[in-house]
Symmetry: C5
Subunit: 327 residues, 5 copies
């Protein structure tokens, strides 16, 4: 049937917002669970509930004898949204791919108040700053805007942002905040009202202390022992075995994080491992040459000095690194 | 067509619960298979059957000559649930993503009794405690609630919770339990009736005994041999080779579990490996220095003592660890 | 529209089986390809055809002038199954997730004979016994039952079970068998007629001979050479290098199989590697101590004996392992 | 509505082929891109276009004033195929899972000529022979047959098979060929007309030359140096370090190919590495024993001979392997 | 209903383009985010908006009293595109699989101007040249063409191509360009109007400097130290340990890039590592032989020369490699 004909006009009537001024659409996001926090892709999956409410006077008129509240479920909702029932066309801005809707319902109260509820699951993205990794704090977000209506037509408002603080075993979360703002796009003159839920989480670093820093420091402490070894061959083979071990740690760390254009604390720890062991190799070879050429006394001083300079130097540089990166 | 018109009212009539008081909805969950138990994500996939039963007097009236029981299948069910046939809007609370429905049917008995059956497959999540891993016991759950109806409208009841005890080769399961409770949400004043199926499973640890602890203990026992070696160079290279092997075990273990904020028994075993070998290196270097400086007797005592102290110390500390973690 | 009204009764009429006695439903399963045989998950993907045939007298009445056979395709079939055309509600019992249907058609012959054909692809699971791995034989299955109808209503019959014997490069398959049985569920009083297609496949082990056993035995044979080395330091470093290599094989094997509560032949081979090399280390340290303490003759005897005892002992124990595991 | 009634007969009329004799269906497959060539699963993803043409006189009758050509798009096509418009029920025989349809249209010319076009993307499988890997040539195929109509009803014809020869960076492709044949199934008496598009591709082996063979040969050449070392301990540790490196290459190769029941050229190269290094170890131990027992002259001859025999033997055996595997 | 009947003709009327001459279709692509840049598969996922505008006079006629602009959402759009509303059948040419549509709407202005907007997410492919990797620059593209209409019917025009320059943390992007062209297919005589959005991105190489080149150069610098070692055994074991480390880097690099038929800068760095260490081994063995045969002076000269030749040679060759590959 052609669009210009009478009947089709009625079917799409509810795609026009209910008011002339902007419709106030209130949003409550409630997080059920965060999972698959992927530090390589900087994404996380959120399973949550979203409740959206607004008033549409066109739905208020009811015949006497009707039930007080109309409720529609799942497929019944999908069929009516955008045709019989106007819908503010909210979209998740920072979602990756399509969200799954596990359940949805819509309640229409006698006064025309519409309450849309949905349980969703989707992958969301945020920019993460890993400079302090694994002692970092990240912000997990859900951003909502209307896909079609500028802020002349739809204005978002926040009812609440709800979540447990025990969402994920590996993180400590603060209470979520909901921020209402306005978003300008370079391509459009219209502004868009935006809703942003923010949750700040602090990574629990205990795992890394025991499974990464403890063995790494064990390796580096072992490298200080080299200066207490007298045979040059033993010194060399010990140093190179330790170097190889640091290479293994290096490859392990490359599976934890994206290929960042900056150094993180965990990478600095690896690099300092390379440096200290390389320097050790350099010193023992110099020492060896000095001995070979017969400067026994100088050799002795190098050996004794190294025994104190290396541990001290490493500890001092780690304290500095901690100050710069984590302070 | 506008909602306020007569016809549309009839179509959605069955979204109103059949009774004024709460409808009693009885649930039977029957587990067919558990698979993909993922200890990193703390999830598992359940393939099972769910049977849901309730009485809807509005469906009881039948014309003479009708078949005794009405049965609908698959798409026929989807079309009718929520429109012709009222549905309690059950949802799986602890599901990850969307469940797959393999088959479904609905039977309506002459007296209005409705029996909904579904074979589903979905990924579910539970919090797992890995402190005793791999000697741990975990609880696998399926939680059900109504998405839309508070306990004033829908009350869940458990018929049965059924499963084989041979669901998964790597676990020994106890008989499942079904628990009916009430769930309060911070965002809502309504309470929700909840159904929770619980299955307790004990991990079969034989694999880890042979593929993890056996080689790890072989490595650690080998480290005790170092004190029976007389050449310092041989001692050193042996110790560092063993250290490198423990690093390999460390990386292997990091593929088994999430990055937990606490230490597990398997990690403690690795850490004790690091400690014992590091201590060995420390002792042989001290011994070497003592020899170098000419204290032959002291060196001899260190060597002899270490031969007994290390094995004894390790065995004692492992017994303690077992007491603390597994006892 | 309410169910109790006249029209809706007619729409769902075909969900009642065509006969009073059980309907005989004949099944032919024909395997096109098996792929993704996953020994960790104990699953495999089957691409095949299923043909299901039964007689429904209600579909037999035809007007003169109609085509002899009615054929419906794909979506046309989906729309009619369960509404116009009765369907025995078959489901794959041992499927993982949902099957994909690539093509389907339904033929209705003038006498009411209905032939349903479908090309499907799905992931199926069977319990596998890996004790003899990689010399094992596994049974791949497809199990079918009616989801809704007990054996009073639907009885399955097997026409044929068809498959090539060259389904998968890594396996040798026997001719498939189809077995008709009856399945009792603890939760239901009804029995269900079941169809089970079974294909027995023998793993081709050539790959493992060359890529696993050959290098492993090379490593173990190399360990026997240790007793022909005279320097204790060389003996030690050789033994520990070999130990490290066995650890690498150990980690490789852990990627092949699930974490089984029993030992497989391939794991026993690894464990015997650990044992023989550990024992070697023990013997060379004892020998070293014996030499150190000046018992030259005893040391000589240990060395000479080990040269024969180790190879012999290993060969004997491998023959025994083979008898116990593979015999 | 019951099937035997008048109306339903008309709706499904087009499922009967347009002619009494076989309908000639011409096929053009055009490959856009090949990607994800997976040598483990022996599959590849093809993104391409398929054009299918036939004549259906029943669609030829047109009223005056109609547009010359009817075109339907995407969902419009899906709704009409098999109901209004007859469709030869083509299926991809060697597809894995379900294809995605990115776009589709159907054109009906005034004379009843129907042109169906589709852009598809799907995973296809072919048997691959890796004996010459990575110097192998493989055939990539797309096989089409009618799912429902034997060659009495539908006969396929090839218009063209089109593809760039620069489909994949890692392969050099020849011009594709389209072959029309007849396929007999053991389960059916009917024969099926089949269309097979074949593209032969030669793997570009440069990568393997530099990233696999170069380092492997470096390792093996290094092993020849062992006979120029005079100290037995140095010989041994060098040989075992090289052995460990070959093990690393072995594990790397096991990630490239399926677990084939035959040896490939790349595996033979690894095995020859194991053999040459094992033999080296054997020779140096024999040489060591000969020296130990005082046969200086014999020892000298063994050492000198080995310096020439090993390189020569390896080069000769590699030439032979190349002849046998690649010749 | 048969196609030749009157009614069906009207339903599909809008599949005929609105004008006799080519319809001008203007396109704006706006990139929201690029993620999953996969250098192995040479693909990337783009989340963006596409706005498509054209004029269809048939939609211009409006009754008085209608709303000024008609808006349809999501499913309402899907139902109307290709039936009520003509659609230019645009397709993404370089997409891999099917795109997801997150939101879509269509606005019809009173003058017949149609504005289609869509938020999409899809995997796209471009040929990438990795010769300079990780100092490379790549072009990310989105190509659009009409699936059905040649350039006699549909002509594309570019409004804008919009994107942030901070799309991905690991890349620096230039401003996007939109190019309108004409595409000829070997299989068709018709030409197609094409739209190509191009974004040039420069990889941020800092990560590789610190995580790859730094440790690799550390290894190679360490290899120069070998000539300052006097004991041949120490020289050998050091050299082979370093060789093994380069093998580890080799395997790591093979996880970064596809199996390219050409060498990249990162691979050349690895190969130069193999070469320099192999050459080192060759020189120390020659030196050892020269010493063994008593030519002390020659040996001394070799040793001293190597100390300068190796570092110099390596630096020179790296400068050359940089010139050839990156210059």
């Amino acid at each position: 049937m052609l669009l210009s004909q009478a009947g089709s006009n009625q079917v799409q009537a509810q795609t026009v917002p209910p008011d002339d001024g902007p419709v106030k659409v209130s949003i409550t996001v409630s997080i059920n669970k965060i999972y698959n926090i992927d530090t390589i892709a900087e994404t996380y999956v959120i399973d949550g509930y979203i409740n959206v409410g607004w008033r549409d006077p066109r739905l208020a008129l009811r015949k006497p004898g009707q039930p007080e509240t109309l409720i529609y479920f799942n497929d019944q909702v999908t069929q009516r949204l955008g045709s019989e029932i106007w819908w503010p066309m909210l979209e998740f801005i920072n979602i990756i791919g399509v969200r799954s809707v596990l359940s949805r319902d819509i309640e229409i109260e006698p006064n025309g108040r519409v309450n849309y509820s949905e349980r969703f699951s989707g992958t969301f993205a945020s920019d993460m700053d890993f400079r302090k990794y694994p002692f970092d704090t990240q912000t997990f977000e859900i951003k909502l805007e209307s896909f079609s209506y500028g802020d002349q037509k739809v204005v978002l408002a926040s009812d609440k942002a709800i979540s447990d603080q025990t969402l994920h075993e590996e993180w400590t979360f603060e209470k979520p905040k909901a921020v209402i703002g306005t978003h300008t796009y370079p391509a459009f003159t219209e502004k868009y009202s935006s809703y942003r839920m923010e949750m700040t989480g602090k990574r629990k670093h205990d795992y890394f202390l025991w499974q990464f820093f403890f063995p790494l420091f064990m390796i580096i402490i072992s490298s200080w022992i080299i200066f207490w070894i007298t045979d040059f061959g033993d010194q060399l083979s010990t140093a190179f075995t330790l170097m190889l071990t640091v290479v293994a740690f290096n490859f392990y760390v490359s599976t934890l994080l994206p290929r960042l254009p900056y150094n993180t604390f965990i990478e600095i720890s690896i690099i300092s491992g390379y440096l200290t062991i390389s320097l050790t190799i350099f010193v023992i070879v110099v020492h060896h040459q000095v001995v070979e050429r017969g400067y026994e006394f100088a050799a002795q001083r190098i050996a004794v000095a190294s025994r104190w300079v290396f541990p001290l130097g490493y500890v001092v540089s780690m304290i500095l690194a901690q100050k710069i990166f984590l302070g």
